[in-house]
């Protein structure tokens, strides 16, 4: 006789104590489960609800706010699938659709940086694959504690090697990302990975189990004890020591990635799609089999019956609860008609991918699972899929008024050319602004042969069609300092910066994804920050006329009562009509006219200058100006298409000074500019909606007219050429000196 906790046993032992708290469920949530089922849950059911109702899977704290992101009508024209799908899907024309999403793997990357980051890439790639698309590129947005902190020397190299290992081995070019440091991320690094995929319109797949009688197939890696640490409490509680204890001892919380298996899985899935062998598909991410079976059946027409004994195991001692909770990587679940099963298994065999029928779709509306003859799960799947929704208390952070009152106005400013020169070099060599090659040189940017722009350009740009030269551009941005000062404005700034970075390539921004990285939702101040950030994103996207297609929320990024800065990371996707007309940031020709686009104010709150030179954070962030961003983007796209420009680079952290330095470094030549007004504000202010461009010789009048037509203020700054970055009346810095400062920082820190 099995000593398993079956539905029958549960019905007969209503009072058996269950370790719901250890599994992260509250007393109320546990009671709710009992109420939904009309009995106590079995151990397996408890495991299933606990993972499905976790913050990570259920979005129970953020859901009420995320509703604001539902796109309005004029934003959603190009949307083929939106929030709620594994990833949103956007029509980019010529019959192509693009799906992209950014996701966090913050906590695992702190515990085991290499594997944590690697499996973060693997997870987001499967999300994209599950939509029916071929994954074509990845990006990574990274934030760490202070660059010179001891633990950063452990976490950063591990994270970068993990992303490099997984992404490179999978054959996906890395086309951009972010790297930033701040004490608030010590102990809570942020590792956000983005993946983008391309498909034809009709390839779009749904995560639903329809058609009673259809088979449920689990394929990819075997299921092992990865990440089931939590489930071990079930084993010990259920068996009360009856062999449960020794077994519970060895359950790793670390998942190990196998990018080779993922590559096989990608190619295998694409062949299955192309052969029309799939009715529905879901990737296995956090919550593994529990999540895939629940979501497939909840999204489908009826129920599902699963024989857990048929799940191929790497470790035969796993209990049903552990099988359900296992986070083993590189697995997918598909719904297949009985007639196609054989062909399905043949394709899998060709790719050396193990595939097993573990159940079938039913019409009874129940998710039922058996184990050794007994029924261990019998639930209405939607009760697990639709978790609780909380309206958590919110309160403006108590210190925010003081923080905003402490403006940077009183900080010592450079008084002369020498001072300005020193400030520029200090910023350029600071870890946030220094050359990121130490990181990005570990990533393959060339594989697949369609990368047109990658780091250090403003946006990554990929060719989608070799015949028509249609392409897509992507950028991610976030600024924790701005958001700490004002999460509403800060989020709009992150959005506008990513939007602007995409626009700089000559692409037209069309859609948005986001990863909301915050502290504990149980802290009302954090909830307020989250609510403000989401409101900022929703308003910003409405003003820009582009939809949010998906995203991810990562909470509990805090140590004790110290939360990270609120850090929404925003990804923007653009469409490039002709990638041959792309613009890079580098000054690649001599004697070209340099023009500054946009309006410069005195905006130093949260600026790189205040941070690097004064370790100061206070005041208000710059004022976002989304209508101006829109006009700037339109102008650049038109000018690029008409061939009026040879370079474009947006102004962001460190203002004009850093933008000019970066363009000089990237193009390998200097420039000479003169500034009207206060050179300090001119060089270091961080007013948004600005860019520098190089106008192609002879096209100056045309470009000036285009600026006027688009109502974008344009100021001639000077010309490109020479060996130095020269600002009239202030300083000359040889490009070689810029390079030494810029390139030296990260190697000095990380070897």
């Amino acid at each position: 006789m099995s000593d398993e906790d079956t539905v029958e046993v549960a019905a007969g032992t209503p009072d058996r104590p269950q370790p719901f708290a250890e599994l992260g469920l509250t007393k109320q949530e546990y009671e709710k489960i009992r109420h939904l089922l009309g009995r106590r849950p079995t151990a397996a059911e408890l495991a299933l609800y606990s993972v499905m109702w976790s913050e990570h899977c259920s979005y129970k704290s953020s859901k009420v706010h995320l509703r604001q992101l539902a796109p309005g009508e004029q934003q959603s024209e190009a949307l083929l699938a939106g929030i709620g799908a594994n990833a949103g899907v956007v029509d980019i024309g010529q019959g192509y659709a693009v799906t992209f999403k950014i996701e966090s793997h913050n906590h695992p990357s702190f515990v085991e940086p290499h594997q944590g980051a690697a499996t973060g890439v693997g997870g987001i790639v499967r999300d994209i694959l599950a939509m029916g698309a071929r994954p074509v590129a990845v990006m990574d947005a990274l934030r760490f504690g202070p660059a010179d902190a001891h633990d950063t020397a452990r976490v950063l190299p591990g994270v970068v090697s993990g992303i490099s290992f997984y992404g490179n081995c999978l054959g996906l070019p890395n086309i951009g990302g972010e790297l930033a440091f701040d004490p608030c991320y010590a102990g809570n690094p942020l590792v956000n990975a983005l993946c983008v995929g391309v498909m034809r319109h009709h390839d779009l797949k749904a995560a639903v189990a329809t058609g009673p009688g259809n088979k449920v197939v689990l394929f990819g890696s075997r299921t092992g004890p990865d990440g089931v640490g939590g489930a071990s409490v079930l084993a010990s509680a259920t068996f009360e020591g009856a062999g449960g204890e020794g077994k519970a001892a060895k359950r790793p919380s670390v998942q190990v990635g196998d990018p080779f298996m993922e590559k096989l899985l990608v190619e295998c899935c694409l062949e299955l799609y192309a052969s029309g062998l799939i009715e529905g598909i879901q990737d296995l991410g956090a919550a593994g089999v529990a999540c895939a079976t629940t979501e497939l059946s909840a999204g489908g027409s009826g129920g599902m019956r699963v024989t857990l004994d048929d799940v191929p195991l790497r470790d035969p001692t796993l209990s049903p609860a552990e099988i359900l909770m296992s986070e083993s990587q590189e697995r997918m679940m598909a719904v297949v008609t009985p007639a196609n099963v054989r062909a399905f298994l043949e394709v899998c065999a060709r790719w050396d991918v193990e595939a097993t029928v573990i159940g079938e779709v039913t019409g009874d509306g129940m998710l039922t699972m058996t184990w050794r003859g007994g029924t261990v799960v019998s639930i209405p799947p939607e009760t697990a899929a639709d978790g609780p929704v909380y309206q958590r208390p919110m309160a403006r952070p108590a210190d925010l008024d003081a923080l905003q009152a402490g403006t940077p106005d009183g900080l010592d400013r450079p008084k002369d050319g020498q001072g300005l020169r020193a400030a520029l070099l200090a910023l350029l060599g600071s870890p946030d602004l220094a050359d990121k090659s130490w990181v990005t040189a570990q990533y393959d940017r060339y594989v697949r042969g369609d990368t047109v722009l990658a780091m250090p350009e403003d946006g990554g740009l990929l060719r989608v069609d070799e015949r028509t030269n249609l392409g897509i551009a992507l950028a991610t941005d976030g600024n924790g300092r701005y958001c700490r000062l004002d999460p509403y404005l800060g989020t709009r700034l992150a959005l506008s910066e990513a939007y602007r970075n995409v626009a700089m390539t000559g692409a037209r921004p069309v859609a948005v994804t986001n990863c909301m990285n915050f502290g504990s939702p149980e802290d009302p101040a954090v909830m307020w920050q989250l609510a403000e950030a989401v409101r900022g994103l929703a308003d910003g996207c409405r003003e820009l006329g582009i939809p949010v297609t998906g995203g991810n929320v990562s909470l509990y990024n805090q140590t004790g009562s110290n939360a990270i800065h609120p850090t929404p990371v925003i990804g923007v996707l653009g469409v490039h009509e002709d990638v041959r007309r792309r613009l890079g940031a580098g000054f690649t020709t001599d004697g070209a006219r340099l023009v500054l686009l946009g309006t410069t104010g005195e905006e130093f709150g949260g600026s790189a200058w205040a941070h690097v030179l004064h370790a100061h954070l206070g005041g208000r962030p710059p004022a976002p100006d989304l209508p101006s961003e829109r006009r700037l983007a339109t102008l650049i796209a038109q000018a690029a298409a008409a061939g009026l420009l040879s370079a474009a680079h947006d102004l962001s952290d460190g203002g004009l000074a850093i933008a000019l330095a970066e363009s000089c470094l990237s193009g390998g030549r200097g420039c000479r500019v003169s500034l009207n007004g206060d050179p300090f504000a001119g060089l270091f202010s961080e007013s948004p909606a600005r860019a520098v461009v190089c106008v192609s010789p002879g096209r100056e009048p045309e470009f000036a007219a285009l600026c006027e037509a688009n109502e974008v203020p344009a100021t001639v700054l000077g010309t490109t050429g020479g060996e130095a970055l020269a600002v009239e009346g202030a300083f000359d810095i040889p490009v070689a000196e810029l390079r030494k400062v810029w390139e030296g920082t990260l190697p000095a820190l990380f070897g």
Partner: protein
């Protein structure tokens, strides 16, 4: 001309190699690792990637695939074969080329556009270049440091079998700056940098790498013309 491009489990730059073949005016023919069949191609490319995850050692497992059982004797009999990156590693593991590729000196994966100097412009894959010519081509590998014993290195140099060398210091610690070598009779060439990613300045740092692919097409056309002439003489 038909040029085979082998796909092993974990091959990544196979599509790119096929594209380079197309750009050079030849027909790419996809070859599958599990088939003991070269499909009557006139040359073969082993592309870059992480065959079998590069677990164990790069190229160590791929070497035993069924397609290699066909390729090894064909290469020994003179079939032009180009191994790029992982393909180079496989050729070394299969002992079609001497030496081995070892962990980069800095222990990190490196993606970098490197300058190469052509050392041997007489192989079927480099005939379109001239000796001493400089090429700008991406390198992207974690185990790219060429290693062999001194005698082998001396022999390679003496016989002019160093096909390409890193100009300046080798970024990965390769012995004597060696980026690529060829077999005794020159038909088998292996190199770590990726010429197939330098066929168009739009998507690479230059178009300098295209010469590897146009060279073999020309060599083939030359050989075909010679055979034709021979046949004509016989007639």
């Amino acid at each position: 001309m038909r040029i085979g491009v082998v796909t092993f489990p974990g091959s990544l730059d196979d599509t790119d190699a096929a594209r380079a073949v197309r750009y050079a005016g030849a027909e790419p023919v996809r070859l599958w690792h599990a088939d003991r069949d070269l499909r009557r191609v006139d040359a073969v490319i082993l592309p870059g990637g992480f065959s079998y995850g590069d677990y164990l050692r790069c190229g160590a497992i791929a070497r035993f695939s069924p397609v290699m059982a066909e390729l090894i004797p064909a290469a020994r009999a003179g079939l032009p074969v180009l191994g790029i990156c992982n393909g180079f590693q496989i050729l070394c593991e299969a002992h079609l080329l001497p030496g081995a590729l070892t962990r980069n000196a800095g222990l990190r994966f490196i993606t970098r556009d490197v300058r190469l100097t052509v050392g041997n412009a007489t192989t079927p894959w480099t005939g379109g270049y001239h000796a001493g010519q400089q090429l700008l081509v991406p390198l992207k590998s974690g185990e790219g440091a060429y290693a062999a014993d001194q005698a082998t290195l001396d022999e390679l140099e003496a016989a002019g079998r160093v096909v390409v060398r890193y100009a300046g210091e080798a970024p990965n610690g390769a012995a004597r700056g060696i980026a690529g070598i060829c077999s005794d009779d020159g038909n088998v060439v292996g190199l770590m940098p990726h010429p197939e990613h330098a066929i168009d300045p739009l998507t690479g740092p230059s178009a300098d790498g295209l010469g590897f692919f146009t060279s073999v097409v020309r060599a083939f056309a030359g050989a075909a013309a010679a055979t034709e002439a021979e046949a004509g003489a016989l007639r």
